[in-house]
């Protein structure tokens, strides 16, 4: 998880605040808890980690994925870029129709997309 940055002028940004809050939760609060409360605290810490990662990397990842999906969809039959549906739906329909069976380029794209989503989980 990124430790975040200060916004300047003494103000921590949201990522920094989440990082510090999570550390406090894990280092100070968690050791005082038992059983179900301990489990719940771990869930909260996990959610904070994912939220901070998304604030830090989410927009860049989403833009990279959107660009790649659009480029791939543009090469499909039926000019999906001009249609009413987005590139995701066009690729889904191409998968269901068999147009991209075993397509190595699409497979590589799906691997990158999944990898980016996993990276957000820390």
């Amino acid at each position: 998880m990124s430790a975040g940055q200060g916004k300047g002028g003494g103000e921590a940004d949201g990522v920094r605040l989440l990082h510090l809050a999570r550390r406090e939760l894990l280092d100070v609060v968690l050791p005082t808890l038992e059983g179900d409360a301990r489990y719940r605290a771990r869930l909260i810490a996990n959610a904070m980690k994912i939220a901070a990662q998304e604030m830090d990397l989410g927009a860049g990842n989403a833009a990279a994925t959107a660009g790649e999906l659009e480029a791939f969809a543009a090469g499909l039959d039926g000019a999906p870029a001009d249609g009413p549906q987005g590139p995701r739906e066009a690729i889904r329909d191409a998968l269901r129709s068999g147009e991209v069976d075993g397509n190595a380029d699409l497979f590589a794209l799906l691997e990158r997309m999944t990898g980016r989503r996993r990276a957000l989980l820390g």
Binding site: A47, I50, R96, G102, M113, T114, R118
Partner: protein, 352 residues
């Protein structure tokens, strides 16, 4: 966290519950000495009951479990009355289950249907099984025993009058599953392309159907109880249906249910060998590795869809549950990676 009987939600229902139990047990009276909720189980609510039965054929102390619906349910889950019927059929088929004792469909007792089963010893917690190598006894023997138990479940075949609620078996469970999960994804909205990739692979590589037999559909580590000596009971019968027996083999061996021991391909507890050997010996059915590989891909798709549905309950279902939200967020990417690993371009046969 412990909840005393007086603090529990059963407290106000103690008298009607005791009256029901006395009548069902053919006893003079039944005393509920203690009732503690079991944690876990997003769909069902389970209570540990300590009973004392006065008079009748079962006189004496009885450790039991009361199982009823949790506030939120899943549409595909069987009702408690159906689950009770399934437990009885499984018991008759020789499967090791918690003995089903009494079903109550009278709303005046608890306000909802419930049933009572005899408590079995041990634990079902997967992480304990992963960490404590002596839990469950010898692991190859445990895997073999589970193969035998699964073969006994699969010995139940349609038609069965008491299981009429299962309906007519599908002629092709594999292709029906493809259509069902596509419909679930459509209902969720969005486009889950890695899952769509897996579903298309499944459509092209569906094995010849076997069966139909009774399939458990959640036969995995975490849903059976063990003590230090071995298996004590198969749990969680709420997803049973008629289907292809390889469904359960694939679900049990799927990587997503091996927890911290991915190298132990039979449920994270043992190699496949002992599990397969006992299953084949008892069922008389040969396990086709290709068919199992198919059902392992389908197992991951199913688990991903379930995780997304659980996450969706917090988005539009009105349930503010961090646990469900994390389930929908954390599990799908790893499951999708596994699906892609199993269905790479070199694993596709040419489509016609």
């Amino acid at each position: 966290m412990t909840t005393t009987l007086e603090e529990s939600r059963l407290a106000g229902r103690k008298a009607p519950l005791e009256a029901f139990l006395a009548k069902a047990a053919g006893a003079k009276a039944v005393e509920v000495v203690d009732a503690r909720p079991l944690s876990g189980g997003a769909i069902q609510e389970n209570w540990l009951l300590d009973l004392v039965i006065h008079g009748g054929p079962m006189a004496g102390p009885l450790e039991a479990v009361l199982r009823t619906d949790a506030p939120s349910t899943v549409a595909v889950s069987r009702s408690r009355a159906e689950e009770f019927a399934l437990l009885k059929v499984a018991q008759q088929a020789g499967v090791t289950v918690p003995e089903p004792l009494w079903l109550c469909e009278e709303p005046s007792v608890l306000g909802k249907t419930f049933y009572i089963m005899r408590r079995v010893a041990g634990t079902a917690v997967p992480h304990r099984l992963m960490k404590e190598s002596d839990l469950g006894g010898d692991r190859d023997e445990l895997a073999g025993r589970l193969g035998m138990e699964l073969a006994r479940i699969h010995s139940v075949t349609p038609p069965r009058e008491e299981l009429a609620f299962l309906g007519t078996p599908s002629a092709d469970p594999a292709l029906e599953a493809v259509a069902r999960y596509r419909a679930y994804l459509d209902a969720l909205g969005g486009s889950y392309l890695a899952l769509e990739w897996g579903l298309r692979w499944c459509e092209l590589h569906a094995p010849e159907p076997q069966g139909p037999v009774l399939v458990h559909q959640d036969f995995r580590t975490g849903n059976y109880m063990v003590d230090r000596h071995g298996l004590t009971g198969i749990l969680d019968w709420e997803f049973c249906d008629w289907g292809d027996p390889m469904t359960d083999i694939g679900w049990f061996c799927a990587a997503c249910w091996r927890y911290s021991h991915p190298e132990l391909e039979a449920g994270g507890i043992a190699p496949r060998g002992p599990f397969y050997h006992e299953y084949e010996a008892v069922s008389g059915r040969r396990i086709d590795p290709q068919a199992v590989a198919f059902w392992e891909v389908m197992a991951h798709i199913r688990w991903a869809v379930i995780a997304l549905q659980q996450g969706e309950r917090t988005l539009s279902g009105g349930e503010d549950s961090l646990e469900l939200a994390l389930t929908g967020r954390v599990y799908p990417p790893a499951i999708e990676e596994e699906i892609l690993r199993q269905c790479g371009p070199d694993q596709w046969k040419a489509s016609e």
